[in-house]
């Protein structure tokens, strides 16, 4: 069976989510093609061609795809769907936007957030904030799937697939891009970082996020995250939120500072390899999932931790 995977990128760099989704696609298909749709994005296609397990890269380079608007992207995927047994995308804000629209155009029920394919038509996915894993079998001829990329390792960059241009589909011209405001950060990206330092309401202010968490994250080369309570209180930007309705992360090391550990937060980080919790409340639910806990005042131990790491 052949599968077509929609690449996640910003017209310049291919995102790590794509390399992980390639591994997922190979779980159910024996031939994986990657679709790079964007504008002046040849470099992205070249990067995708290096991913091990990719048989072909298809490049749709047109201004209509510059901002990944869902209407032209879904139309493009629909025009390319014939011959593929599965159409996939990583479960990013682009993939989650485009793929259900495509599924409806193809009259297919989408599999959201696949974490495993146990057969080409049988999938596992988390429901109820990750408290339950359901196994479903799809009877649709074409499978439309979004991939929870934290469940997969990235395909190594050792391949050399051919790049083939594809014709742009007719743009439905229903929406237009007005602007964007993307956080510019030198730090690792939250969803793919090896280490995440995350703060909760106990930080008590935006200033304390800067004062306590940033030096620690800098020291560790970590991405910064936050609980919903901290974001709601205005201590951290929206796109730092880890949890059921925010980002899903599974780093090697997740350090939860001043986070109590509501189930909605745990849903976003409990697949991390090692979890450290620092909280002054010994009964906080975060300690039930933490490998290592420090019951302590964060104002004291976080600077101590940063200082100790600087010495080491």
């Amino acid at each position: 069976m052949k599968a077509l995977l929609l690449a996640e990128h910003d017209n310049i760099t291919l995102k790590d989510a794509t390399a992980r989704a390639v591994t997922a696609a190979r779980e159910l298909a024996d031939e994986v093609h990657v679709l790079v749709a964007g504008y002046e994005c040849r470099a992205v296609a070249e990067s995708a061609a290096k991913l091990d397990g990719v048989a072909k890269v298809r490049l749709a380079d047109a201004v209509a795809y510059q901002h990944m608007l869902p209407e032209p992207l879904a139309a493009l995927l629909q025009s390319l769907a014939a011959g593929y047994g599965a159409l996939l995308a990583p479960s990013t804000s682009v993939g989650r936007n485009v793929m259900p629209r495509l599924a409806a155009l193809l009259d297919v029920m989408q599999i959201s957030d696949m974490v495993a394919a146990t057969a080409p038509d049988t999938f596992k996915r988390p429901i109820f904030a990750g408290n339950i894993i359901e196994t479903v079998r799809s009877s649709d001829a074409t499978k439309v799937i979004t991939v929870r990329t934290t469940a997969y390792r990235a395909a190594p960059r050792c391949g050399s697939a051919p790049i083939e241009p594809v014709t742009a589909a007719a743009d439905p011209a229903l929406s237009s891009f007005v602007g964007e405001e993307l956080s510019k950060s030198e730090r690792a990206e939250l969803t793919t970082a090896r280490i995440v330092v995350s703060g909760g309401r106990a930080l008590q202010s935006r200033e304390n996020f800067q004062k306590f968490l940033e030096p620690l994250a800098d020291k560790l080369g970590a991405a910064l995250g936050a609980s919903r309570a901290a974001v709601d209180a205005g201590y951290a930007p929206y796109d730092w939120q880890v949890g059921q309705t925010g980002k899903i992360v599974a780093p090697d090391l997740y350090i939860a500072i001043g986070i109590s550990g509501a189930i909605q937060h745990l849903a976003g980080m409990k697949d991390s390899k090692v979890i450290v919790a620092i909280n002054s409340d010994a009964d906080a639910p975060i300690f039930e999932v933490a490998d290592y806990g420090l019951v302590a005042d964060l104002n004291k131990v976080v600077p101590e931790l940063t200082a100790a790491l600087s010495k080491a």
Partner: protein, 250 residues
């Protein structure tokens, strides 16, 4: 402009869910049910647009069990004008829901549909996008700001890494993210008033659409539980454990 807001009755976000002993589904007996939190935000946004004079009527629709009427009453208490309750099949897949909503949108001649971005039970995040595809309407998903213009709607979307703003030609679909608004507190007089607002009842069958499931649920299971680890007493001990035992620091 008429706004349609679909609302779903789901397990309350605070309730603990359990898989039935035979692994065929989720134990729902005596579990607290509520309006899906994202749908509540969607209703609030529609009502605010009406209060600002941008909308003429806010119609809510729920598809599912007869008890979904309670969910509609919550939406009416927030300020929606009337409800539509479609019953027949308790659990529908998002594709079937989108097909049913398409019929309602066309019957009602709605110009804007605001939905919650996902239901917190099955976490699919599909229905709004599917409805947009079926209607060939533009979609503004994960909205944190909505502004209505004469022929368009300006939607600021929460995307990975920040915000994106798009202009959608009307008619359009918007899905609400967490920070679109803070739903109002329901006052007793409004709850009482909501009981008297009209709710039209329809059967799913009468819509004449194919709602057969495409996915067969083979099994439901709880994921392996993480065991609680150890509580340490000092930063030095933590660093030592991370380096030697866990091997995540070098």
């Amino acid at each position: 402009m008429k706004i349609l807001v679909p609302v779903k009755r789901v397990v309350d976000f605070n309730a603990k869910v359990r898989v039935k002993p035979d692994g065929t589904g989720v134990e729902l007996a005596s579990v607290k049910m509520s309006i899906n939190p994202f749908d509540e935000i969607a209703v609030e946004e529609a009502v605010r647009l009406k209060e600002k004079g941008k909308a003429s009527e806010v119609v809510c629709v729920s598809i599912g069990a007869p008890q979904a009427e309670e969910t509609l009453r919550t939406a009416l208490a927030i300020g929606a004008d009337r409800g539509i309750l479609i019953t027949g099949v308790a659990e529908l897949e998002p594709l079937a829901v989108a097909k049913a909503l398409k019929v309602v949108v066309q019957e009602e001649q709605a110009q804007l549909v605001i939905l919650g971005k996902q239901a917190i039970d099955y976490d699919c995040d599909q229905t709004g996008q599917m409805l947009a595809g079926l209607l060939n309407w533009p979609q503004g998903t994960f909205a944190s700001k909505v502004e209505v213009e004469p022929d368009a709607v300006l939607v600021t979307r929460e995307v990975d890494g920040g915000h994106q703003t798009v202009r959608l030609k009307l008619p359009a679909i918007v899905t609400a993210d967490l920070r679109l608004n803070q739903p109002r507190y329901l006052s007793l007089p409004n709850i009482m008033k909501a009981k008297k607002k009209p709710v039209a009842k329809k059967s799913l069958e009468a819509l004449g659409i194919d709602v057969r499931p495409r996915l067969e649920i083979l099994k439901m299971a709880e994921p392996p539980h993480r065991k609680a680890g150890v509580k340490l007493t000092s930063v030095a001990e933590l660093i030592q454990k991370l380096k030697t035992e866990a091997g995540v620091l070098s």
